[in-house]
């Protein structure tokens, strides 16, 4: 009986050792040798879910690529930008520790290009207390869009969903638009509130608002309800895998003809369109929160060049990290005098509208208590030629 126990102890101590070693590796992406001019570098931070259930590594990766380019061009006021990107592992405790480390020890002047599942609710109050602003690359939680010191450059699921509803009723002219909400914790109520707003704004009366199925469960019951309600458009929330499964279920129920399907930007990826084509369910619409990255718009050239050089994947997510970093660089360039957390916050709030070629509307980080500056989406549709742009910018009022 002794040997298994001592073996277990060995295993335990080994895993503890591994944890310590791994913890030492979390602060990545620091830019070394950026001291060319001898001046102290400008430190900016990011906290992202780089490990965990939904890894977002390319968002801070894209921001890093922008800063590397700016540094190569001589930096800001002759000072290099040092980007300290931390991983929260989708764990609020780690996110909150990382924020304290970055702000109190590293002394970052702003947060930029974060993309996290948990960071906003963990750190929004702290950012406000310490007067640090965060331009997020990808905001996920509702808190990201409801905080004084955080402004994501992406639409977020709620605004994204709204753009789909407006597109279905106003642009496609569908009269029986059915919102389907696949339940996930904490998001159903904001969706319902938004649907009410859309109804009063457009005068639409959905024949069905379905909230009966959880995200990831078999969607057949929803589609049977869709059939019975006689919907002519179905707007649903999904991640990549769920979007593919949902469309397959629609096909099995013989409900592809005569109904438009619209879903969130997560589905806008190469893997999804390949899977949709293989199972014979093309036609799905998704919103693109930036200029569609698979398109050939010339606004994408610089983005593509910068990211390819830095070996960062070209995705919708990396557009977010790129745009966030570009906006910060523009703000930093406009600052005369000392660059501190205070002066950056002041500059960004005073900057008014900051245009970016990849955004459908100018970015504003004003003095208000909530920020959802990007409410514009372009719709893309899955076709046999891949995702093609199917609309003009849809701006949610």
């Amino acid at each position: 009986m002794k040997s298994p126990r001592s073996r277990a102890l060995t295993a335990l101590s080994l895993s503890a050792l591994a944890a310590v070693l791994l913890a030492g590796c979390t602060a990545t992406g620091t830019n070394e040798g950026g001291d060319a001019a001898g001046a102290e570098p400008i430190r900016v931070g990011a906290i992202s879910s780089i490990t965990g259930p939904a890894p977002f590594a390319e968002v801070p990766g894209a921001a890093q690529a922008v800063f590397d380019r700016v540094n190569a061009e001589g930096g800001i006021q002759g000072r290099m930008i040092e980007y300290v990107s931390e991983d929260d592992g989708a764990d609020p405790a780690q996110a909150s520790q990382a924020a304290r480390r970055l702000i109190d020890e590293t002394g970052v002047v702003a947060m930029v290009g974060s993309a996290s599942l948990v960071e906003c609710s963990a750190n929004a109050a702290y950012y406000e207390q310490r007067g640090v602003v965060s331009i997020m690359g990808t905001g996920v939680e509702p808190t990201c869009f409801e905080s004084r010191n955080i402004a994501p450059v992406n639409n977020g699921t709620i605004q994204g969903y709204a753009s789909l509803l407006y597109f279905a009723s106003e642009d496609l002219g569908r009269e029986r638009v059915c919102p389907v909400i696949l339940n996930s914790a904490g998001l159903t109520e904001p969706y319902l509130a938004l649907i009410e707003e859309w109804q009063s704004e457009t005068g639409s009366t959905p024949p069905l608002v379905d909230t009966t199925v959880n995200l990831g469960d078999d969607a057949t019951p929803v589609l049977l309800a869709v059939r019975d309600a006689g919907c002519d458009a179905v707007v649903f929330n999904a991640n990549e895998a769920v979007a593919v499964a949902f469309m397959n279920t629609a096909k099995q129920q013989g409900l592809l003809e005569g109904i438009d399907y619209l879903t969130l930007t997560s589905a806008y990826s190469e893997a999804v369109v390949t899977a949709l084509e293989a199972q014979g369910t093309l036609g799905l619409y998704a919103n693109s929160e930036f200029v569609p990255f698979m398109g050939d718009d010339s606004a994408l050239d610089e983005w593509r060049e910068t990211l390819t050089a830095a070996d960062v994947p070209l995705t919708s997510l990396s557009e977010g990290g790129y745009v966030a970093a570009e906006i910060l660089v523009e703000v930093l360039r406009g600052i005369e005098g000392d660059i501190t957390a205070e002066s950056v916050a002041e500059a960004i709030r005073g900057a008014g509208e900051v245009a970016n070629p990849l955004l459908g509307m100018p970015f504003i980080f004003d003095d208000s208590d909530a920020h959802n500056p990007n409410r514009a989406s372009l719709m893309v549709q899955a076709t046999k030629d891949g995702w093609v742009t199917a609309s003009d910018w849809v701006i949610v009022p």
């Binding site: 259930p53 009966t212 078999d218 049977l224 895998a241 099995q252 293989a278």
Partner: protein, 285 residues
Amino acid sequence: MLDGVISGLISGSAYAILAVCVVALYRLTGVVNVGLAAIGALGAYSCFAIVGAGLPLGAAVLVGIAVSGLVAGLGGFVLARWFGQPSATTRLVVSTVLLIVILTLGFRLFGDSPRVMPSLVPEVSLVLAGVRVSLATLVALACALLIAGGLTLLLTRTRIGHRLEAMSERPVTLQLLGVNTRVLAVAAWSATGMLAALAMLLVAPTRNPTFESMSFLIVPALAAALLGAFSNVWIAACGGLAIGALEGAGARIDWLSSYRGAIPFIIIIVALIWLRRREVWDAPR
């Protein structure tokens, strides 16, 4: 209502196959394999990965089933080799560890990006009395019943079946009689693993989101197995089908729809209370 029930039957068939396998493995080796669905999912995803690489579906299915058989056999070997004698609790813990290892492995290997999941059965559907029934549902249903029937025959009518059951009851006695119990255990694990892979391949086109969600199809299957008190294959199979049908129908009943996800757990609680109705509740265990 009826179409809700029918739509639930395909998930129900998967629960039934898994439940039957869980019961059979428990009767043979005394282990509740909570990682069974994950083992099946590993095989199913291997199959999809191979199809994605351009190989024909038939070969991919065979490789997928073989992968599950291998992994399950390995799990069976670990249990038979190092945990042959310990208590039921220890064996359950080991099987839970196995689940976690396979979940992690699956997530590492396959991530959560969507995959092309071809259907094993031609995508034909019949309309019976105004209800759409896919061929896949019928095949899955037939598989569930065949597997339950086959296992019943194997366990009650064949020499190997008796040996297998003796193994879970009195492993030491059987070993003294010169029977290689380890080989039997590994074979039982491996066979149930392969059946689990088959179940997963059948339901994948309708319930495919991620490796993780597939692995947790074991929860309703365990509820069904519990209904059969981990001994009756037929009650377990019918229980699995009933849970699937209830989930499908529940979506159309307003007061029930929000709680559908809880159905397996409610069944587990009720079954536990019923099975233990004659026992002293506060007795230490």
